[in-house]
Amino acid sequence: MGRAVAVIGTGQTKHGRRDDLSYPDLVREAVKKVFEDAGITLKDVDGVVYGSMPSMMEGVAYNHFYFADALRVVGKPLLRTETCGSTGQSVAHTAIHWVASGMADVVLAVASEKEHEGDAQATMMTILEPFLQVVIGGAPLAFSLQSREWMGYYHIDDDKAREAASIVSVDSHNGGLANPFAHIRVQLTKEDVSTAPIITYPVRLYDVCPVSDGACAVIFASEEKAKKICKKPAWVKGMGFRGEEYFIGDSNKAVWQSTIEASKEAYKEAGITNPLKELDVAEVYNPFSYQELMFLECLGLCPPGEAPDYVIKGTFSPGGELPCDPSGGVLCTNPIGAAGLIRVAEAALQVTGKAGEHQVEGAKLALSHAMGGAEQFNGITILGSEL
């Protein structure tokens, strides 16, 4: 992959409803924190990468122009990357490629969303082709259809899937309570989850992510710079990204090839042959609890069709073999453009022992993931405590 690259700092806003700040001020909150965390100044930065959902989300087109000052990009090169829900992973990958190539030594990656300013689902329906924009359902319909396709394909009993999805939701919400940046802070029982109002059946209220405002910033550096600047860098061990053809019905989305292939590439690069055993923690992109079940399989963390069994026996719960989303995941915090980069930041916090109350004891190798598009993109970044 070129030169070694490390995360040398992370910064997250307090996520939630942030009507208290203008959008550039929100971006600045994350950028200010990342500089403090990394202990560097603007002159150390060679370039900036930014990404969000379509600018229509908040009503200002090309919002990286609007954020130029908050991004500290004046006098620096700027790249914008966006791939819908997987934007945050794409932003990280762009920064990593930039440093790995040798064209930059230190790159600031920033991603954000301020969803309360507009209408996320109305915006997301415009991602579809002109003649499909009349369909009612938004992203929850697309991803609920995918989850049920998975249930149907493997003949997974509705009650068993419901039980496992409830566990995913309860675990994530408990994680959110331990994470000072998380948006939704509520303690739930499995019954609360399984009896909540239907959004897009089988998905109910606590199976689906919130509408969040938030920003995340991560600084990536070359090996030489990282060793000079940072006492405890988080090293990029591997990454993978795959896209798929556009029409949702064209392929079997229960065996999601872009997740499978992107993770295989990342594992190969990281030298991982048994991800369930070798990984210590995973920040799986989970805007829907049911979809997380499918991801656990497609990421190779359990056999196809068996995610509910593994979840029910506690494999992915706190204290289990591979705790997933100790931060509360996307189920508790979903400023969409930023959500994939938050996964990277959380993975970095874990492998550097800086995750605080939601730290997975002794975590050395962490997976971060995000997906997006019309069931179309998957990105993975694996971080480790050792080079």
């Binding site: 009507d19 208290d20 700040l21 229509m56 009503g59 300013e117 209408d119 996320a120 689902q121 109305a122 329906m125 579809l128 002109p130 003649f131 499909l132 009349v134 369909v135 009612i136 359902g137 938004g138 929850p140 319909l141 697309a142 609920s144 259809l145 995918q146 049920r148 396709e149 249930m151 149907g152 109002p197 239907i198 959004i199 897009t200 059946y201 089988p202 998905v203 053809e245 556009y246 029409f247 949702i248 019905g249 064209d250």
Partner: protein, 160 residues
Amino acid sequence: MAEQKEKPRKVASMGMVPYEMALGPTWTRFFEGFKEKKILGTKCRKCGRILVPARPFCPRCFEPMEEWVEVAQEGTVVTWSYVNYTYFGVTPDMIPVIGATIKLDGVDCGTGMWTQIGGFDIKDFELVTKKVKVGAKVRAVWRRKRQGNFRDIDYWKIIE
């Protein structure tokens, strides 16, 4: 500077832009078929797949798909979901909706998101869970007045 007492406020804004998006020859013909109660697909001369909606080119082979095929109006439910929430442009009277992906007989792909199941009291959720199953057979029910868009198929009726 004195302490700020006023609550930070918001400014209302609404972006409205009219669009005229070209469908191109393939999708034009596909929707002309809808006016005549026909579902048309195109066939790839290389991989032989028949895809609906019709495609100008094969997404996998990149070859033009010029052979037109009228396909069955019956198929099997691959997956479904019960939409029960609103967002801008969707008002409470427009829900619930049962979105479904349907594998049309003889077609090599699913419908994705453009097909909805109906024809019974879908507000009765218990009834929905009894009637709508993965693997159920469905048939297209057309509107009387058709305009050449996806709304021309009123709903897909469960036939077994």
